[in-house]
Amino acid sequence: MSVSVRIPTILRTYTGGESEVSAEGDTLAAVLDDLDASYAGIRARILDDAGALRRFVNVYVGNDDVRFLEDLATPTPDGVQISVIPAVAGG
C-alpha cells in the first residue's frame, strides 16, 4: 500500500524540507516503520519511548484522527493521505 504523509514543519529536517512524502504499509504502525527506514529517526519524534503516539501529536488517516479509529493499528488503504499535526490549544 502506498500512502502519502504530510510532514509538519518541525519534522521537515528529516525529510530534507519536503512537506509531503510517500511511504508503504497497510497500518499506521507499518507506515511509520517504513517512514523511519527512509528518514531515520523520524518515528522516534512521533512515538514516545513506550511506542505510543506522543501526547501532543495528532495523526489523521484521511480526515479522521486515529484516536477515534484504531490508533497505530488503523488501516491505511492505498492512496490515502496521512497527516501528522502538532496539537494546538486555543479556539
Binding site: 514543519t9 524540507g17 506522543r54 484522527d65 502538532p86 494546538v88 490549544a89 486555543g90
Partner: protein, 434 residues
C-alpha cells in the same frame, strides 16, 4: 522569505549560505527571553514556533521579568497594556493600533451569591470587551507578535469568538484577515466576523477539523500568522491578563476559588500562570487558591478524565449548544487536569438544559447576559455548590467569557413576552399580570 515561516530547526541547504535572516527588532517581545517546551524544557528562540522539535509539546513564553511594582501597573492604561511588562509585547505597544481590550468589570454578585448560598461571589465580566468576549485579550497579544514578525495575513481557526476578535483587530490594524469557522456556528457569530472581514471561511466540519486545516495551511502558506497556531505562544499569554485583573481588582489579592470555562483549556491554565507569576513577583501574598473547570456534558473530555482519575483524555465528537466550548480534542486538557488537581479544585460538566437555566439565572440575579459558555460556567458553579464540592464560605470568582447576544437562539425559546395584549387598560387588567 518571510520571517514567519523561518523555523529554527530548518537546516540551510548545504553549500549555499543561508540568506541573512531579517529577525524581529530588539525588544519586539518585551521581557520575553525564549520559547520553552512545557513538557521537556527544550528552548527555541522567540519566533513563530509553537511545537517543541523534540517532543511536540507546546512552547510557552519564558521571561526575564524585571522588578514590577503595583504602582507602575496602576499608573498604566485601563486596558491589558497596564501589564505589558509581563507580556511578550514591546514597551511601545500602545502606539500600535489594536482594540485595547481588558480591564473589564469585576462585579460583586450579591444576588447570585444569596441564591446559591455562597458568602462572597464576584463575576468577572469579560463580555464587555471590544468584540464581547475574552478573546480580544489573546488576539491583542497575537497581533503584536504578528506585526513584529512581519506577517502579511492574520488568521485563525475559531469556535466563533476568536474569529470575531481577529477580524476586528485586523481591521483596526490594517492587516488582511482570514478566519475559519465550523459552518454550523451561531448566526450572530458569523455576522460579527463577516462585518469586519471579507474573508470568513465556513468549513464543513467541527472545530477540530477546522483546527487541523489551519495547522496544515500554517505549514504551507508563507507570511500567515495564525493567532492560535504558529503564534500561539504569544496569543496564549493574553489570557494571563484575566488573572492579573482579578487580583488587582480584589485589591491585590487572589480569590480563594475561581470557576473558568474549558474548551482547549488554554485560558484556565493561563489564569493559573498569572496567579503564580503575581506570587513570584511579590505583587500578591502567597496563598492557596482552587481552580475549577467548567464543561458542557456534550463536550466534556476533560471533565470525564477528571472524574475517572486519569491523565488520558479521550477526544469526543461534540454535541452541545455551548459551541464556543465545543473542542473535542483539547490540547491543553492535560494541563487543566494538573491545575485543578494541584490546587484542590475540580472539573465538572452540566447538561444543555442546565446551561440555559444558568444563563437565565445570571441574567435575572445580576443583570448580566452571558452566552452559552458563561451559562456553562455559572451552571457548573451551581452544581459544585449543590454537590458540596465547593466551599461556600470561601471568596469565589466566576468568569463570564462572552456575551449572550451572540447565542440568542440558545434561549429564545425559554424567554419572551408573558402575554400579548391590546393597547388598552382593560386588556392589561384582564391579562392577570398583576
Amino acid at each position: 522569505m518571510s520571517t514567519l515561516l523561518d523555523d529554527t530547526t530548518t537546516p540551510g541547504t548545504a553549500g549555499t549560505p543561508a540568506p541573512a535572516k531579517k529577525g524581529p527588532r530588539d525588544g519586539a517581545f518585551g521581557n520575553a527571553r525564549a520559547l520553552a517546551c512545557r513538557e521537556c524544557g527544550h528552548e527555541v528562540e522567540l519566533g513563530p514556533s509553537y511545537a517543541c522539535p523534540e517532543c511536540f509539546g507546546p512552547l510557552e513564553v519564558a521571561y526575564d521579568f524585571p522588578a514590577v511594582t503595583r504602582e507602575e501597573i496602576a499608573a498604566g492604561p485601563r486596558n491589558i497594556w497596564r501589564y505589558k511588562a509581563l507580556l511578550p509585547v514591546p514597551t511601545d505597544i500602545e502606539q500600535s493600533p489594536n482594540t485595547e481590550p481588558g480591564f473589564t468589570r469585576l462585579l460583586e454578585a450579591k444576588n447570585l451569591a444569596r441564591e446559591l448560598g455562597i458568602d462572597r461571589l464576584w463575576v468577572k465580566d469579560d463580555s464587555t470587551n471590544p468584540t464581547n468576549s475574552f478573546k480580544d485579550r489573546v488576539v491583542a497579544c497575537a497581533l503584536s507578535a504578528a506585526r513584529e514578525l512581519d506577517a502579511k495575513v492574520f488568521a485563525c481557526p475559531s469556535t466563533g469568538n476568536l474569529a470575531n476578535a481577529v477580524a476586528a483587530a485586523g481591521a483596526r490594524a490594517g492587516i488582511p484577515t482570514v478566519v475559519f469557522i465550523p459552518s454550523n456556528l451561531e448566526t450572530p457569530k458569523k455576522v460579527n466576523s463577516a462585518v469586519f472581514t471579507e474573508k470568513l471561511v465556513a468549513v464543513d466540519g467541527n472545530y477540530d477539523d477546522v483546527n487541523k486545516l489551519a495547522s496544515e495551511i500554517a505549514g504551507e502558506e508563507e507570511g500567515w500568522a495564525f493567532v492560535n497556531v504558529n503564534v500561539r505562544p504569544f496569543y496564549a499569554e493574553g489570557s494571563k491578563t484575566l488573572g492579573y485583573e482579578i487580583a488587582e481588582q480584589l485589591g491585590w489579592r487572589l480569590p480563594d476559588q475561581i470557576v473558568i470555562p474549558v474548551a482547549s483549556g488554554s485560558q484556565l491554565t493561563k489564569v493559573d500562570k498569572a496567579f503564580q507569576e503575581l506570587i513570584k513577583l511579590g505583587l500578591v501574598e502567597d496563598k492557596p487558591y482552587k481552580v475549577y473547570g467548567a464543561q458542557a456534558a456534550g463536550c466534556s473530555p476533560v471533565s470525564v478524565a477528571y472524574k475517572a482519575g486519569t491523565d488520558a483524555i479521550r477526544p469526543v465528537k461534540p454535541d452541545t449548544i455551548a459551541k464556543s466550548l465545543a473542542i473535542g480534542n483539547p490540547a491543553d486538557g492535560i494541563y487543566v487536569l494538573d491545575v485543578c488537581r494541584r490546587t484542590g479544585g475540580a472539573v465538572e460538566d452540566i447538561t444543555d438544559d442546565e446551561v440555559r437555566d444558568a444563563i437565565v439565572l445570571l441574567a435575572r440575579t445580576e443583570g448580566i447576559f452571558t452566552e452559552t459558555a458563561g451559562g456553562t460556567t455559572v451552571g457548573v458553579l451551581k452544581k459544585l455548590v449543590e454537590s458540596g464540592q465547593l466551599d461556600t464560605s470561601l471568596e469565589t470568582v466566576v468568569i463570564n467569557t462572552g456575551h449572550g447576544l451572540k447565542t440568542l437562539d440558545a434561549i429564545s425559546d425559554r424567554v419572551g413576552p408573558v402575554a400579548t395584549i391590546a393597547p388598552t387598560y382593560d386588556a392589561f387588567a384582564a391579562s392577570g399580570i398583576v
